[in-house]
């Protein structure tokens, strides 16, 4: 615990911790809309396209001036978004192809500029490499104010235009037919995502930034049934990933913050995909198993009832082998045991035969009658 206290006392750690949590919250909140609008990969293209802007900002400012670097990143990111829009509207290429082209071309230009700058040498040119994968230690106190400002602005926009953003995310055509300025709203959403990426570049870097947009939202979607909780939860998961990632990397030597944050966020996704109630894979597997078991049990009951009816004897004792013949398959002991536990069938002996026999109880007869009155399978509700 003393180690932890020491960690917190360090200003740098506290700065990184706050910065990572802020970044996670911002990208989590905006990422929720990006994921629902199926624009997750737009974030990837935007962040890769920020690299040439970073280098241009460096060249123009003649050094590692943060304002110039971030402005450059925002400029080329916006340019990439524009090029992508033009490609999808004016050519026959689909969005995925446009994304691939823009992402790789802008990133290639960025790498070329990066190597040119490094070839020139000079102070600070090494620091540019940190924008590839992020370098949390480079974060300054003053950067927190920029992040906080952008976070507040994004929060204010989301709160003010909540229902408009929701409508545009769900059904843009309907919103347009209602007279909403859909293109403007979409631009606002995209610009906010671009801003989140720009502030995240220092911490996480251009290559991994998209994970912070997608992962918290994907995890949050698993647990919620409404947009409000999803956005809040997504922001919380993002903030928690950022904070814990910063802590882990600070307490261990040589662990880069950005990748650790991304790994924690993706772990949250993995856990959510598996265990979230209703939508989780484990949950669905259990539900499917239960449904199968119920069908199997019903078939045994109906078989016993059919045999009883055929022999005109409600207490007909069916030999286990006979159930198998009538059913076309052997009911497992577990199925029979489950039915016995529910008091629907009971094992009986039928001397002189030595094999196990089963008969329907009163409750079993009632249950079978109720089942055949209903539709054969009524619980077909898909997951949320």
């Amino acid at each position: 615990m003393t180690g932890l206290a020491e960690l917190f006392s360090g200003t740098i750690v506290l700065t990184v911790l706050t910065g990572a949590a802020l970044l996670g919250a911002i990208s989590g909140m905006l990422g929720a809309f990006a994921v629902l609008r199926r624009q997750s990969l737009l974030g990837d293209a935007l962040s890769h396209a920020a690299l040439p802007g970073v280098c241009l900002g460096f060249l123009i400012a003649g050094g590692r001036d943060l304002g110039a670097v971030l402005a450059g990143a925002f400029f080329t990111g916006a340019l990439a978004a524009l090029v992508m829009m033009l490609i999808t509207r004016r050519t026959r290429l689909k969005t995925d192809a446009a994304l691939g082209i823009v992402l790789s071309v802008f990133f290639a230009v960025g790498i070329v500029l990066l190597t040119v700058i490094q070839g020139q040498g000079g102070a600070g040119s090494l620091g540019l490499m940190s924008f590839l994968f992020g370098q949390a230690a480079a974060l300054l106190r003053s950067d927190l104010w920029i992040m906080g400002g952008i976070g507040l602005a994004a929060l204010a926009l989301v709160l003010a235009f909540w229902k408009e953003f929701k409508l545009v995310s769900f059904d843009a055509d309907f919103a347009r037919a209602q007279g909403f300025p859909v293109t403007l709203l979409e631009i606002v959403l995209t610009v906010m995502v671009a801003l989140a990426i720009v502030v995240g570049l220092q911490l996480v870097g251009v290559v991994l930034m998209v994970a912070l947009l997608i992962a918290p939202a994907a995890a949050a979607r698993q647990w919620t049934r409404a947009l409000g909780p999803m956005v809040v939860l997504s922001a919380l998961i993002g903030a928690a990933s950022g904070a814990s990632g910063a802590l882990i990397s600070a307490s261990t030597r040589g662990l880069a913050t950005g990748p650790v944050v991304v790994l924690i966020a993706t772990t949250a996704v993995l856990v959510s995909l598996l265990v979230a109630p209703g939508r989780g894979l484990v949950w669905q597997a259990i539900a499917a198993r239960r449904a199968r078991a119920r069908i199997g049990e019903r078939r045994v009951l109906v078989t016993l009832q059919t045999l009883a009816a055929a022999h005109d004897n409600a207490g007909y004792k069916a030999e286990q082998g006979m159930i198998r013949t009538a059913l076309g398959a052997m009911p497992t002991q577990a199925r029979l045991a489950a039915l016995e536990r529910r008091g629907l069938i009971r094992p009986v002996s039928h001397p002189p035969e030595t094999t196990t026999h089963w008969e329907l109880t009163e409750a079993g007869h009632a249950e079978t009658a109720a089942l055949s009155a209903k539709a054969p399978l009524s619980d077909k509700d898909p997951p949320q």
């Binding site: 629902l36 026959r92 229902k163 409508l167 995310s169 769900f170 059904d171 037919a177 007279g179």
Partner: protein, 256 residues
């Protein structure tokens, strides 16, 4: 013509010289169309005839190369909120985290205005609209858990809640079961009886005569338009669809 002068105010929908093209292929060519108020109108035509494009262009969702559109004499920009639009069901992602009631409330967002959230009044109106399509018991259901027919009814309720004099529906009967279709048609007929204009992109020729009283036959160009009994003729069907289908869907009163 000045901006506030009405042009053809006697028609619920008036389209003149409308041309829309994708690349070098025209999707709609020189459309002149008039739909009078108070009718229930079907727009029919083969696949690729431009049915959806026509209503999207009329609503300003698709850019027109030429022509103009008027609803009750006004351009569509002045008529927003007075036109209920039901897009094709498959145009949205039904896994969106929301409930049926919430989707219906979206029909009221425009009337609420900026910065205002739907409150108790919106909720009551949404529930009433859901009840009109027989979906009151599903108000708080996740939309992903609804069947196709139920999703379609939610979409229609979202247009109903606006209380608009003109309703435009894009293939509302596509992929719904017979009972949902009956509910939808009964509802649309009731709305027409209230004096509203209903415009439906329709794909099932066999039901045109029993459901609708006005018909637009389309195949990139307008083939014919007018009352169903005048337009639903073997010659028009042949022109729109080609020979074989016209025989299959022969008008009822000329069939043996």
């Amino acid at each position: 013509m000045t901006n506030d002068a009405l042009h053809e105010p006697g028609q619920a929908l008036h389209i003149e010289d409308l041309t829309v093209s994708y690349g070098d292929t025209p999707a709609l060519w020189d459309i002149d169309l008039d739909i009078p108020p108070g009718v229930m109108c079907a727009i029919v035509g083969p696949n690729g005839a431009g049915k959806s494009t026509l209503i999207k262009a009329a609503l300003g969702l698709e850019r027109a190369d030429a022509g103009h559109v008027r609803f009750l004499g006004r351009p569509v920009a002045q008529m927003r909120g007075q036109i209920g639009y039901v897009p094709q069901r498959h145009s949205v992602d039904w896994d969106f985290p929301t409930t049926a009631r919430d989707v219906v409330e979206m029909g009221l967002y425009r009337a609420l205005g900026w910065f205002r959230r739907p409150g108790r009044d919106a909720r009551a109106r949404a529930l009433a609209a859901l009840a009109e399509v027989g979906m009151q018991d599903y108000a708080e259901r996740q939309i992903s858990q609804l069947s196709g027919g139920q999703q379609q009814r939610v979409f229609i309720a979202r247009a109903l809640v606006q209380d608009a004099p003109i309703l435009i529906l894009d293939e509302p009967m596509a992929g719904v079961d017979a009972s949902t279709e009956a509910v939808i048609i009964a509802l649309l007929k009731r709305l027409r009886a209230e004096g509203r204009t209903i415009i439906v992109v329709h794909h099932d020729l066999t039901t045109v005569q029993s459901y609708f009283d006005w018909l637009v036959m389309l195949n990139v160009r307008i083939i014919a338009q007018g009352p169903v009994r005048d337009v639903y003729t073997p010659e028009n069907l042949r022109t729109a669809y080609g020979g074989q289908l016209a025989i299959l869907a022969a008008p009822q009163d000329t069939a043996p």
